[in-house]
């Protein structure tokens, strides 16, 4: 039995604009999306902001009702059988909210353990064990308002695991964490997967998805635009090379000149302090490089490198932009 089944799920939000004359507007967050995730799988969801990743996670965690279609977790409908699903899932949303700041980390965990009916005899040991696991044992009795962002995120992780759910949803869990904190969190996710948990992970970090996930789904404008193993997705750009140009002061007009070159598939600009890194996808790097350099005439060019396509490049190709 699949752990998660989405069958033609559609989710529409209604909003209104204007003060005196109010206009109703519909936003399609998820558009006819079908997907199956097997038990024990670590599945990554990639997509730009507003693509529908969080909406999808919220549907699967019983917090949103799909407008149409059906979503099932462990064979049970997340809307009609929400009471069955809830004790069997755990979730973490990125960010610092969702904790009682005036209480200690331990008090927060004890409270949620009670709401999830953790057996009283096991409660203390389980809370202590999770505090140890996420490295918060020494600060457990301090108020959450004194915690760093990373500590709050780790406390969320401990909260998610209190009732030992078989299915986990992690929505951008490493966002805002320092590199060491993020690496430790990735190690924890890998360990949970090794223990047999089904995990759905949304992330903006391609290397994270590449490193952790068995399968990845790329979602854009509410639609699943690609799905498969990281290697399979990389094959989408096997015909492409990426030319990286480090430049100083490239203007918008210069970027447009690059985009207008026939051999160029896409151009992504990454600002790095005073420099810019231009990532140009092309099918013929050897012929494209001289044209690119010519199009940047008058702009100081530093390093120029050519490499094979990565998962990130596949993402750029599918989604059309990089945030």
């Amino acid at each position: 039995m699949p752990a998660i089944e989405l069958n033609r799920v559609r989710r529409v939000f209604q909003t209104t604009t204007g003060v005196l004359r109010r206009h109703a507007k519909q936003i399609v967050a998820i558009d006819d999306l079908s997907l199956t995730i097997e038990e024990g799988e670590l599945f990554g969801l990639l997509g730009p902001n507003g693509a529908g990743k969080t909406t999808l996670i919220k549907i699967l965690t019983t917090l949103l009702i799909p407008t149409s279609g059906s979503a099932r977790v462990l064979g049970h409908n997340v809307d009609r059988e929400a009471a069955w699903v809830r004790p069997r899932i755990g979730f973490v949303f990125g960010g610092e909210r969702g904790l009682y700041y005036r209480l200690s980390g331990r008090e927060n965990l004890v409270y949620f353990a009670e709401l999830y009916s953790v057996p009283p005899r096991e409660l203390r040991a389980r809370v202590d064990g999770l505090l140890e696991m996420v490295g918060l044992r020494d600060r457990a009795n301090e108020r959450v308002e004194t915690y760093s962002r990373g500590m709050k995120q780790r406390l969320h992780l401990a909260r998610m695991l209190l009732h030992q759910p078989p299915v986990l949803f992690l929505d951008e869990p490493t966002i805002g964490l320092d590199p060491i904190g993020a690496r430790e969190l990735r190690e924890t996710i890998a360990r949970l997967h090794a223990e047999g948990k089904t995990i759905v992970l949304t992330t903006h970090y391609m290397f994270e998805a590449d490193l952790l996930c068995q399968r990845i789904g790329i979602i854009n404008n509410g639609k699943l635009v690609a799905e498969g193993s990281p290697d399979r997705l990389k094959q989408l750009v096997s015909d492409l090379s990426v030319v990286e140009l480090e430049v100083f002061g490239a203007t918008a007009a210069a970027i447009e000149r690059l985009r207008s070159i026939d051999l160029v598939d896409s151009v992504v600009v990454e600002q790095r302090e005073v420099r810019q890194l231009l990532r140009v996808q092309t099918r013929a790097a050897d012929r494209a490089v001289p044209l690119l350099v010519a199009a940047l005439e008058g702009i100081e060019i530093g390093r120029v490198t050519v490499r094979e396509g990565t998962l990130e490049d596949a993402y750029v190709r599918l989604v059309g932009r990089l945030e």
Partner: protein
């Protein structure tokens, strides 16, 4: 199925821990009633009919009513602001029990104000504070508390459904103090207001508590007050349950559980 008592206890403990860490709430519970009790007892001390126990009970009821009104309308919204409403809504624990537990915690905390008033009367002014019908008082106290708690639970979905209306509800703090006869009998009020008082469950809580404290309430009168309190509580809780279910379902449909 999760044990209701466990959820109520956990939510009450959480609420007490949060209030204990809040300096403003500590002021409301300890300092404000101290001022009220000292002022009332000082002004009224020479009146021959002055009953200091009336002030103690009245101040306690006032504190409970304020908590029911403010914390009730604020309970669900505060969870939403903290980002914890989604966590509660997606947990196996019924949201109504979580809200009910929180209100229980708030009320237990506010009872400390009654203790402060008692201490002022007994130790500062040296009054002999006696409850003339202790058994009746205990029963009246339990029913009165249950009634005010039910109102608080009912106010929680109203605070979400009609946010603007909830702000106006907060204006009811002082009118109910007066109309329910918390600090002085409604006999002092104009006759036309008495039927309004009779419609308010807090009035019947005040009748039962003041009457049993003073020993002036007959058993049938006490039974009538308790019956009104039970009926009002049952209606409040049934309404609260339906409204909360409706609110949460609407929020899951509209995607507003996490909105502030």
């Amino acid at each position: 199925m999760i044990g209701p008592a466990r959820v109520l206890r956990a939510a009450a403990a959480l609420q007490i821990a949060q209030l204990s860490a809040n300096l403003f709430m500590l002021f409301c519970v300890f300092v404000q009633p101290l001022f009220i009790a000292v002022t009332a007892m000082y002004i009224l001390r020479h009146r021959p009919d002055f009953d200091p126990m009336y002030v103690v009970v009245g101040a306690g009821l006032s504190g409970l009513w304020s908590v029911a009104l403010f914390d009730g309308t604020w309970a669900v919204q505060s969870e939403r602001w903290q980002g914890t409403l989604e966590l509660i809504a997606a947990s196996p624990a019924p949201v109504m029990l979580v809200v009910g537990g929180r209100m229980l915690g708030s009320m237990a905390f506010s009872l400390l104000s009654m203790v402060v008033c008692y201490a002022v009367g007994a130790w500062l002014f040296g009054y002999e504070l006696v409850v003339r019908d202790p058994l009746g008082f205990i029963v009246a106290f339990a029913f009165g508390l249950f009634s005010l708690w039910s109102i608080a639970v009912l106010l929680s979905p109203i605070g979400i459904l009609w946010r603007t209306a909830a702000r106006f509800l907060n204006v009811l703090e002082y009118p109910v103090y007066i109309l329910a006869g918390f600090l002085f009998p409604i006999l002092f009020l104009p006759g036309w207001s008495n039927p309004v008082s009779n419609l308010l469950p807090p009035y019947w809580a005040a009748v039962a508590l003041h009457g049993t404290a003073a020993g002036t309430l007959s058993r049938p009168e006490l039974m009538l007050a308790l019956l009104v309190l039970v009926l009002a509580s049952a209606i409040d809780l049934l309404l609260a349950r339906s409204l909360l279910q409706m609110v949460l379902r609407a929020a899951r449909r509209a995607g507003t559980l996490s909105l502030t």
